[in-house]
Each structure stands twice: as structure tokens, then as C-alpha cells.
């Protein structure tokens, strides 16, 4: 089960939950599972940068998740 | 409005051009003569990107009016190499990685040449003050200063340099 961490800004939607474990083989599936558990969250996470195992993954929707993956949602960054 | 006819020497060649009285030498070089090597960074004489040598004197061409160069001699970046042979400053800038974006480079080369024309063996401090009128935002000046010192040393010891290369 992938371990999902919620930033403070999403914790209103998760009822204060800071992290949870979810069975998902891709980020798309993860978003669907998250939406089932925390309605309204998909729109928020879809606009965030997704970090999988410490690495921000651009265009992450189809990215595979390992059973022990860690997923974080961050503000989007690029740089100068 | 009638334009002024101006005759001068540009990089050793006699030339003439027509310009408006309000037109700067920078604008004449770029817009009338197509010599785009001289750059405009500010238009107020603060950045040195438009440096040219006018009768042996380093000037910002944005602060000189076109008609003012009547009968005078102008050196620009385009005249710095001798045919197919680069000036030692151009060589040292290339080899010393003395630029990143390169937009300030023509101005620096012209200013450095004016410095070495006047003082062939400058100290680091003299180099730093010699190009203090030229802004570079990429390099932090380190490699520019080193390259000018390197060129000065090549020029004052041409023999040593030839043997070394």
C-alpha cells in the first residue's frame, strides 16, 4: 500500500488526516481512491505537483506506484 | 526634417552616412550602418554595452550624437580582429570563458582594449577600474578580469606566449 502524505492545505478535506495508506498501482488510480475517501480532493491534488519517493514527477497521472511508494503533494515549482 | 551628412573613419575605413540630428552614434551604427555588434543596454551611459573608441577615447556611443563624429575615427567590436586573426583579448575571452550570455562582451572587449592601449600592463585593480563602466550580470567579473590580465600578458610577452601555445 502506498503511503500518502497530505499538506496542511489539504487537511481540511481529509478531516485532519495527515497521512494514510492506499492501494493503488498508478497515480490516476490513487486520485480515484482518494476522491472516494475524501470527496472534493481530486481537483486539489490534480493541480499540485506530485512527488513520488522524493522525486517530483511531471505529468504524473499515469505514473506507476510501488507498494511501498511515498506520495506527497507540493506547490508546483519550476525555477528561474 | 533634413538629415546631416557625416564623414568619418570607421574601423580604419573612410565612410559617410546620413543621420538625424537627434540620432545617437549607437543608433547610427546599428540602424544606419547595420553594425549590430555594439549593443544597447540602457541608453543612458550606465552599462557600457555600447562602448566604442572615439579618437582613442573610450565612450558610450549612446551618449554621442551622430553628427558629432564628423571627421573623427571610431573603433567598434567589428574592427577588433585583424582579418582572420582575433585580437588577443578576443582569444583570451574565448579561452577563459569570460562570458555567458555574451551581450555585454563586445562592450567589455572594446573597454578592455582601450585600457590596454593606454596601460599595457595593468594590475588587477587597474583592470577592475578600467572596466568599471561596463556591467555584466552573468559572470561576477572574475573570468573577465582574469582574461584581460591574460591578454595583457600575452601582448606584452608575445614570444613567451607563442612558445607556450
Amino acid at each position: 500500500m502506498a503511503r500518502i502524505f497530505f499538506p496542511t492545505s489539504l487537511q481540511q478535506l481529509t478531516g485532519g488526516t495527515e497521512e494514510c495508506e492506499i492501494e493503488a498501482s498508478t497515480v490516476r488510480e490513487l486520485f480515484a481512491r482518494l476522491e472516494e475517501r475524501f470527496p472534493g480532493i481530486r481537483e486539489q491534488v490534480a493541480s499540485a505537483a506530485v512527488a513520488i519517493d522524493g522525486d517530483v514527477v511531471p505529468g504524473a497521472l499515469l505514473e506507476p506506484l510501488d507498494p511501498d511508494s511515498e506520495v506527497h503533494f507540493l506547490p508546483a515549482i519550476s525555477g528561474g | 526634417m533634413s538629415r546631416t551628412h557625416v564623414t568619418c573613419v570607421l574601423n580604419g575605413d573612410p565612410i559617410d552616412f546620413l543621420c538625424n540630428d537627434y540620432q545617437t552614434l549607437l543608433s547610427v551604427l546599428r540602424d544606419e550602418l547595420g553594425m549590430i555588434g555594439t549593443k544597447e543596454g540602457c541608453g543612458t551611459g550606465d552599462c557600457g554595452a555600447c562602448s566604442v573608441i572615439l579618437d582613442g577615447q573610450l565612450v558610450c556611443s549612446c551618449l554621442v550624437f551622430g553628427p558629432e563624429v564628423e571627421g573623427r575615427s571610431i573603433e567598434t567590436i567589428e574592427g577588433m580582429a585583424d582579418g582572420q586573426h582575433l585580437h588577443p583579448l578576443q582569444e583570451s575571452f574565448l579561452e577563459g570563458a569570460a562570458f555567458q550570455c555574451g551581450v555585454c562582451t563586445p562592450g567589455f572587449l572594446v573597454a578592455a582594449k582601450a585600457l590596454l592601449d593606454r596601460n599595457p600592463t595593468p594590475t588587477e585593480t587597474e583592470v577592475r577600474y578600467g572596466v568599471a563602466g561596463n556591467l555584466c550580470r552573468c559572470t561576477g567579473y572574475d573570468k573577465i578580469v582574469r582574461s584581460i590580465l591574460d591578454a595583457a600578458s600575452r601582448m606584452s610577452n608575445p614570444q613567451t606566449h607563442k612558445e607556450a601555445t
Binding site: G79 | T44, C136
Partner: protein, 751 residues
């Protein structure tokens, strides 16, 4: 210390860059160096007020001036909905972008474009612009963050409601967003702390300061298809943004990249491009537009001014146990300061268990900020690294030892969430500690400071093509403008792979119609991401060439290997085939030799830098002179060390300018008082010493040569390094930037 792995022939060497000759002879063509026959000249009419309603615009007299061919105002641009695209500072709102290009009902800063004019000469265009009559209803301006955040402050956007609050806001405000990062138990953390330091810091808006002003030539044909020649950090993004703002199709626009005269993040967005394109379509002629330096200052860039309060606690043994950071960043006229990376980076170098970080994005009547080298991180580091220095002093610890004790390492969870992958922070600290600079003697009124910084770095969408010519030379094509030597670095990586001389490779920056999409040159991404694509394409070519050699020799593929630019038979059964032979005979083996690779890579290695600064303070004038400066930075692997050093030196000196001289100064009416290089004082050669560099190489496992981005990290530590040095020299903690002579004198007279 450049520990280049032996065995590389080109990676880690310092060849003359391929575009160098054009740049030392004046032949290189930058944005303003393009011209077409019969082109018009465009100018922008800008608001004299920082905040006003536009009641009416009458340009009938201006349009009647002989030689004026077109005039446009905000009414000529389609209104876009709130739509976000990827871009600098993590997303660009096209509705705001459009309104920044041309004001609609309101002007929001002095210099905000109101109209644009194209005429047969620049002078006629300028005269006509002055004849445009704009009726303004002047509104009270919001010029400081303190004012902007007050409950009864005038509101810039009546549809702006703060995101990220605990309960939904009832009315609009100037705070567009609140960002929070929290972890651990702060009360427990403070309980554990033996020493606590709490301070407030401010920094001023500063400009990227590229020497080349924004410039564009646009030509729109009768069929509606257009061509743009412009200098930018990414011509694909310029096309996307420009066509979006105009409501045109991206495929109908070709953007040809000029050489770019510096960007530093400031050329990741558009200003003139849609104006020139639309004027060109209206007039049926090409239109050239070039900003003056004053326009560059008043209406492009800068990066945010900031207010930050930091509180940090440490145990007596030096362990950092708790921290609070409150940060507010100026966004300028529209939302979008780099507060996101600000809150993520402020404490990122350290492993602190109990943390609360709160950040605010604040709009006010100043130019909309743009990305500037590691956007959001330098000001944050100024505050945090000053506090770390003060804690070290209170603990009686060496400031580098305190940092080593708390430094993040591989596997440690960053304060913003994810675990760090392979990083080289501790290595930079150790190199700095052991550097002779760190123990060199100092004189009276002299002091030494150190500081560190962290930046994420970025990958991004990338296309690269490598092709072999019939003479065995190669072309490496990418779509990322080369701002500081990336063409050379890409050619070096291809030369290393192909086994040919780097100068038999021509690196090219191709236009939008000649290569697949590329994200911008930004986020320190080019040597990393484009490097991966170039290496992959080179390896595909080698595989292809080995297969063709096998075909020619009629042997299995396994019996062919690529050595020193030649296909070689492992059995020695056939004479080797050179690149030239394979290329010239390619018609018989399957056609031309060319490979294109597209990637969107993960794994841009994080960058850390630690810097040492010595200053001398003149007690009579308050002038701070930097005497010696050393930049230690992890580059993963330096492909071309000269240009890696150049990035480190240039970043450090921009930071020194930010620390000591540079600031936007506004009068009480909100008009910028120093929009020129005379009064906006960037460092010149005589202000500075040599900038020593130490390249640390902790290879990034996600790049074939170990590259990490190096372009941005160097600008993060300098402000704190300088401030800590000023403290060491004077005993005064400088909490407000810039540390100009006046401010330093004030601090010195505070005894």
C-alpha cells in the same frame, strides 16, 4: 576541488564554446538585432499612476498622425477566464497574464501598459503615444505589504479571496494565498530548546538585471500565420503564452530564438510579444518593439520584496529542535509571488523535528514579479541563515559545525515532506570548513560569515535530435536557449558518447518549427534534462551504427562494439568502420543517421551551496567591501567546469548586489525613483574581489554523467553570508536589506 573521473575524454574538460566566436566578434544576433525590410516600430503607452480606473481612452488624434499604422488597447485582447498553465513560479494565470500585457478597466502599477502604437518610425510612434488621451480615476495605492494586509486596505482585485485559510473568507483581500507547512509538536520543541533566537527580516524587490532589454520582431502574414524573432528563456513557452493571450492557434506561430542577453528567470514570461504580433496583424507589416531600460525596471521582473519572522530553538548540543517561520512575499499587481518555494526552502537544509511555516502571497500596486534565479529561496535563506548564525554564536559553536550537526542527508524527510535522495550538502559544508579561506586571518573592522542554501532543480519536457553528417561530423539540436554555455555542455556529452572531437559537433538551438517541444531554459534544467535526451539519442545512434556495421560485415550484432568513434569487430575479423564511413554509406544500410529522443525526466538532483564571505566595514561611511568570497557547491558532475564556476560566481555576485546595493525605491505616489542602472546600483568589477569556487561532485544517480542543476543555487546563500560577515566585523545584526552605507551607519550609531 574538481574530482573529474578519469576515463572521460570530454566530460569535465574546458573546450572553447561553439557559439563563442560569434560572441567575441559582435556577430551574434540578440533580440534587438533583428530587422526586416519595411518593418514598423512599436511603443507602449504606460500608466503614470500605480492604481486607477481607466475611464476612457481616446486615440483618434494619435491614429490620425501620418505614419501611424495601428493602435491597440486592452479592448483588443480577448478576456480569458482563470486558467492556469505551467510556467515560471509554478503556474501562470492567463487571465492575469493578459491583463498585465494590457490593462483593462484598471491600471495596477506605474508602468502598466495601457495602449500600444505602431508607426513607420520609432519617433512617430513615440509622438503618437503621447497624443493618446487616457482619462483616469485615481485610486488610493497600496505600496507596502503591511498596508496591503490590513483589513481596511484598498483592494486591488475585488474578486480575489484568500486561498488556504482555515475558514472561507467573507470578503476579498490583497492576500491571494496562505501556505502552511507543519510537523511535530512545537510546544515540546520549545520545551527542549536551551537557546532560542527570534528575529524579523525584510528584503526589497530586486531586478534580475539582464543587460539585454526585452525585444521582439513580429511579422504576421495575410493568412494569419506569424513569425516572432525574440530573445527569451523558452521560445515554445513564448508561443504558447502569446497565442493564448491573443486567442490564436499555436501552430500558426513560429518563434525563432534570438541569442538571449541574460534572463535569470525574468525572460520566462511575455510582455511585448502579443503586442507586436497583434500590431503586425492590424498593420499588415512587421513590427519591432524594444523596451527601454526604464521600461524594463518599471514593468518587468522583479522578484518579491519580503517580510519574514523566524524563531528557532536549539539544544545545548547544537541540535535544532523547533522553528517557526512567518513569511509574506510581494506578488506585485497580480497573485503569484514565489511564496510556495519560499516556504518549502526556508528550513529545507536542516532536519528539524518541530516546525510551523506560514507564508502569504500579497498583491500590491507594484510591477508583477517574475521568476528570479531560485525564486523565493534567497530571501528565505537570508532570514533563516542569519538566525542559524546567531544560534551558533549563542551556543558557542562554529557555525559550520552547527550546520553539519543538523544538515539533511539522503533519506531524511525534508521539512516539506518527501525524503531527500542522494545529496551533497554535508560535503559542501566540510569543503568550506577545510578551505584555507575559512581560517585565514582578519584585520580590524573585518569579519567573516558563512551561509548555505538549497534548491530543488527541475527536469521538464525535452526533445533533442542528434544527426551525423556525411563527413562524420554531428549536429546536436535542442530547443532550449543557451544562456550560459549549455550548447558546449550538450556537445561535450554527445562527443563523450560518440567518441568524436567536441568541435566536430555543432550544437544548435532550433526554432519551434524545427524540433519538438522543449520547456524553458529555467529551473537549472538544461544540462540535466536535455543532457539526458542528447545522451539517449547518441546511444541510439551508436546502437544503430553498430547494427549497420554488423549488416555490412554480415556478423551478429553482438560481435560489434563502439570504440573511440568507430564500429569495431570484437573478433578482429574486419577493419573498423569510422563514423564518416558509416555516415557516407548510410544510403545502403537504411538511410540517414539521426535519432530524436523526447523525455520528461524525474530525478533532477537537488543542489546545495555553502559560501564564505569576508567583508571590511568602513565605520565612517558605512560602506561594506567584500574582501574575499568562496562558493562551494555540489554540481553532481561538472560537464564544462568553466561554465559551472561561472554560474556559481554569477549567482554569488547577484546575491552580493541584493545584499549590499540593490533595491526598488518608490516615491510616496508609487512611482519608481530609480529605474536606471545609475541609481539601481548593480555590482561592477571594481566593487568585487575574485570569486573563488569549489565544485563538489556528488553524482546525481538519475543522470548518465551525474549532473545536478547548478544555475540557481549559488544566489541563495550570499545575503546571509554577507550579513553574518558584517556582524562579525561590527557586532551589528543587519536584518533589513540592502545593507547600504546609510543602513550600516545607522546600525553602527545605534550604540
Amino acid at each position: 576541488m574538481t574530482t573529474t573521473r578519469t576515463g572521460y575524454k570530454w566530460v569535465g574538460t574546458r573546450p572553447v564554446r561553439h557559439d563563442g566566436l560569434d560572441k567575441v566578434t559582435g556577430r551574434a544576433r540578440f533580440g534587438a538585432d533583428y530587422a526586416t525590410a519595411g518593418m514598423l516600430h512599436g511603443v507602449v503607452l504606460r500608466s503614470p499612476h500605480p492604481h486607477a480606473h481607466i475611464v476612457a481612452i481616446d486615440f483618434s488624434d494619435a491614429l490620425a498622425v501620418p505614419g501611424v499604422k495601428a493602435i491597440i488597447t486592452g479592448a483588443d485582447l480577448p478576456d480569458l477566464s482563470d486558467e492556469f498553465g505551467t510556467g515560471s513560479e509554478g503556474g501562470i494565470n492567463f487571465r492575469d497574464l493578459s491583463r498585465n500585457i494590457l490593462a483593462r478597466d484598471k491600471v495596477l502599477y506605474e508602468g502598466h501598459p495601457v495602449a500600444a502604437v505602431a508607426a513607420v518610425t520609432l519617433r512617430i510612434a513615440q509622438q503618437a503615444a503621447e497624443m493618446i488621451e487616457v482619462e483616469y480615476e485615481v485610486l488610493p495605492a497600496v505600496l507596502s505589504m503591511e498596508h496591503a494586509m490590513e483589513d481596511d486596505a484598498p483592494v486591488l482585485h475585488d474578486d480575489l479571496y484568500t486561498l488556504g485559510l482555515d475558514s472561507p473568507p467573507e470578503r476579498p483581500s490583497n492576500i491571494s494565498r496562505r501556505r502552511v507547512i507543519a510537523r511535530g509538536d512545537l510546544d515540546a520543541g520549545w520545551e527542549e530548546a536551551d537557546v532560542v533566537v527570534e528575529r524579523e527580516y525584510t528584503t526589497k524587490a530586486v531586478h534580475q538585471g539582464y543587460i539585454e532589454p526585452h525585444a521582439v520582431v513580429a511579422e504576421t502574414g495575410e493568412d494569419g500565420r506569424s513569425t516572432l524573432w525574440c530573445s527569451s528563456q523558452g521560445h515554445f513557452a513564448m508561443r504558447t503564452y502569446t497565442t493564448k493571450v491573443l486567442g490564436w492557434e499555436p501552430g500558426d506561430m513560429k518563434v525563432i530564438p534570438a541569442e538571449i542577453g541574460g534572463g535569470f528567470g525574468g525572460k520566462t514570461t511575455i510582455y511585448l510579444e502579443p503586442l507586436a504580433a497583434l500590431l503586425s496583424r492590424r498593420a499588415g507589416r512587421a513590427v519591432k518593439m524594444v523596451m527601454t531600460r526604464s521600461e524594463v525596471f518599471r514593468a518587468t521582473g522583479p522578484t518579491s520584496g519580503s517580510v519574514m519572522r523566524i524563531k528557532m530553538g536549539a539544544r545545548r548540543d547544537g541540535k535544532l529542535v523547533a522553528a517557526i517561520a512567518w513569511m509574506a512575499y510581494e506578488a506585485g499587481a497580480f497573485p503569484g509571488s514565489p511564496i510556495g518555494p519560499g516556504v518549502m526552502t526556508v528550513l529545507a537544509p536542516y532536519d528539524i523535528p518541530n516546525v510551523l511555516i506560514e507564508g502569504f502571497d500579497v498583491v500590491l500596486n507594484k510591477p508583477k514579479v517574475a521568476a528570479y534565479r531560485a525564486p523565493g529561496a534567497p530571501m528565505a535563506a537570508f532570514a533563516a541563515e542569519s538566525v542559524v548564525d546567531e544560534l551558533a554564536e549563542k551556543l558557542g559553536m562554529d557555525p559550520i559545525e552547527l550546520r553539519i550537526r543538523n544538515a539533511v542527508t539522503e533519506g531524511v524527510r525534508a521539512v516539506y515532506g518527501p525524503k531527500y535522495r542522494k545529496i551533497g550538502f554535508v560535503e559542501t559544508l566540510e569543503e568550506a570548513r577545510d578551505h584555507p579561506h575559512y581560517s585565514a586571518p582578519l584585520g580590524p573592522w573585518q569579519g567573516r560569515g558563512v551561509a548555505s542554501g538549497y534548491w530543488f532543480n527541475f527536469g521538464g519536457e525535452t526533445t533533442a535530435t542528434v544527426s551525423i553528417n556525411e563527413d562524420g561530423t554531428a549536429v546536436v539540436m535542442s530547443g532550449c536557449p543557451d544562456i550560459g554555455g549549455t550548447r558546449a555542455a550538450l556537445a561535450q556529452m554527445a562527443a563523450e558518447e560518440l567518441g568524436i572531437d567536441v568541435h566536430r559537433i555543432e550544437p544548435v538551438v532550433a526554432d519551434t518549427h524545427s524540433i519538438g517541444y522543449n520547456d524553458m531554459t529555467g529551473g537549472s534544467r538544461v544540462a540535466f534534462a536535455v543532457g539526458i535526451a542528447v545522451v539517449d539519442a547518441s546511444r541510439q545512434l551508436i546502437e544503430d551504427m553498430c547494427s549497420r556495421a554488423a549488416l555490412i560485415w554480415d556478423v551478429p550484432r553482438e560481435e560489434v562494439e563502439w570504440v573511440d568513434g568507430r564500429a569495431q569487430s570484437v573478433t578482429g575479423a574486419a577493419a573498423p568502420l569510422t563514423l564518416e564511413e558509416l555516415a557516407s554509406g548510410s544510403a545502403n544500410t537504411g538511410g540517414p543517421l539521426s535519432a530524436t529522443v523526447t523525455v520528461n525526466p524525474r530525478g533532477a538532483g537537488a543542489g546545495f551551496s555553502t559560501q564564505i564571505c569576508d567583508v571590511e566595514v568602513d565605520p565612517d561611511t558605512g560602506l561594506v567591501t567584500v574582501l574575499r568570497y568562496t562558493v562551494v557547491q555540489d554540481a553532481g558532475r561538472a560537464i564544462h567546469p568553466d561554465y559551472v564556476e561561472g554560474q556559481m560566481q554569477g549567482g554569488a555576485v547577484q546575491g552580493i548586489g541584493w545584499a549590499l546595493n540593490e533595491e526598488y525605491i518608490f516615491d510616496r505616489d508609487g512611482v519608481m525613483e530609480n529605474p536606471g542602472f545609475l541609481d539601481y546600483r548593480m555590482p561592477v568589477a571594481s566593487d568585487l574581489p575574485m570569486i573563488d569556487t569549489v565544485i563538489v561532485e556528488v553524482p546525481n544517480p538519475d543522470h548518465p554523467y551525474g549532473v545536478r542543476g547548478v544555475g540557481e543555487t549559488g544566489i541563495i546563500p550570499p545575503m546571509a553570508a554577507v550579513a553574518n560577515a558584517v556582524y562579525a566585523a561590527t557586532g551589528k545584526r543587519m536584518q533589513d536589506l540592502p545593507m547600504s552605507p546609510v543602513r550600516v551607519l545607522e546600525a553602527l550609531s545605534g550604540d
